[in-house]
Amino acid sequence: MYAEPPRRADLLALSTPWPTQDVRMQVVRNQAFEFVASALRPFLAFAGLTATLQYSDYDDSLSVPIDPRADVVLVWLDFERYGRLAPAELAVWLELRLQSMRAKTKAPILIGNHPGSSGESAELNRLLEKIADRLAGVHLADQAAIASSLGPGYRDDRTARLAATSLSDLALLHTARLMGLSWLPALLLPSIKAVAVDLDGTLYGGVLGEDGAKGLVASPEYLAVQQRLLALRENGIFLAAVSRNEPADVEALFRHRSDFAIRQDHFSVMAVSWGPKADAIRQVAKELRIGEDAILFIDDNPGELAAVASAIPNVRTLHAATPVLTGRALQAFPGLFRWSRSEADTLRIRDLAAAATREHNIKTAQDPNAYLQVLQVELGIGVDLRSQLERLTELSQKTNQFNTGLRRFGAAEVSRYIQEPHCHALSISLRDRLSDSGVVAAIFLRVDGEHAVVDEVAISCRALGRQLERLMIFAGIHRALAGKKVSSLSFGFTPGPRNDPARAWLISLDASANGAEVVTIPWHADEVRRELAAAPLRLTELGP
């Protein structure tokens, strides 16, 4: 999977002995995609997916009926065929075509950008980036980056004449790898939230207990692995150390090895003991408040990987066979790629450290109001903020515990809540004296006369446990319904494997609601306003 260079014959020979999730991908194109598709199969299978591809004819006009059943739409263009159009003209036309597709499907749309190196290519790509920013759920498959890394080897004049694509085999294979391991999993699958990494033989060469801190090898390849882990941390992915060692020895190791790129304080959890590593992974999940299936466990010992996978079947694993392979895999492991780094990503790591202090405070506080007062809680409420589209989508897609609807809204659906007059998408940010958690809650509601339907409330697990759920939700809804004569409110509930906290909260509203799919309560705006005014917190408006 990570061979350099990748070889088509090796990839085609791979089979999939594990079950995969079927997805439907519509390819709207004016050039061949088939030679990417054949190599895409094993990469997607590695991510747990099997794609059924539905091809359009070669059509420069892109006037193709969009299949509303498609899980993802790929726009795969040879831009050389539009040579008579200036970049700005081409971009205007493309935006219209993408808008038309957007109106016909809620599925994410992926479009390859221009691989050329000319000023005009760069100009078109800048315009495409702006289009992707403007259109919900449209993302760019960065062909320009692949072309840049391969240089002249990106193109092959022979395939241009023989196979209706000007991409070389190497370019086709690199595209397949990024599409299968990074781009499509980022659109279709839950992301990895934490990387739990073994130390000996994985993060450095040698064995701490035998070689001592000074005897361990920090070769350029191992340092590259450490750097890559730090890059993931910068993107909001937690790091955890999972090691069979003496905790004191590990602390001494990080103190003494200043040549390491990674430091102990980069790890959000240190799970160092002589116990089973499966227990360590469970500890990591608990401390980070994430599911075990959101963890990638990396170890150089296949036995440890097998033991953990056997005890926790949903955990994802990576064999650190060599530091070079580990580094490559961390560049493109399904679930690690992010389309962009959001503010929430950067806040996530810092916020965790404050969580322990909060938990201590809440356990020792006699009076919940006094606890909130001490924390100096500030809630920011934003109604229909286009700038929060990505974060709202992320909350709907990724929140498992406090998620009432489990609707898993895509960007196009969230965009409709933002734009349509009787619908609202609420963003709620949370800050206290310990940390700024950013936007932690999303609420999606519709107003129908005097009744409002809350299709989903999704609150990040980072904001749970502060006894703030009711205030956050009611403050948001109160702001959205200001000036409207709404007298009742219903919450849709979809039971899932982990959303008991959401169910429990709905039962707190209506004790008879246990097991109900819809919980309806009267809505008295004046009473809610008084409750919010009496609460020891500050409400602010979240700016655009």
Binding site: P5, R8, A9, D10, L12, A13, S38, R158, T159, L162
Partner: protein, 80 residues
Amino acid sequence: VSDQQAGRQVRGVLETVLGRAIAPSESVTRSTEPAWDSLRHVEILLAIEGVCDIRFDEEEMGRLDSLEKLVQAVERHRAT
């Protein structure tokens, strides 16, 4: 690299792309192989180039329509 190895490598690629086992002595031609369409033809050529570390000339790519011709072409490119 021996000629026998070229034969094994080309046969292996054909087995993978055409999706069936091929006996060492079997003759395989595009005209008698329903699965060997124009897309798979390109796939076969690209896969053989990767496995055998050679590069076919554009003029010959359309003519390499049998296992035997492919093996001969691989041997020729390796010899030059």
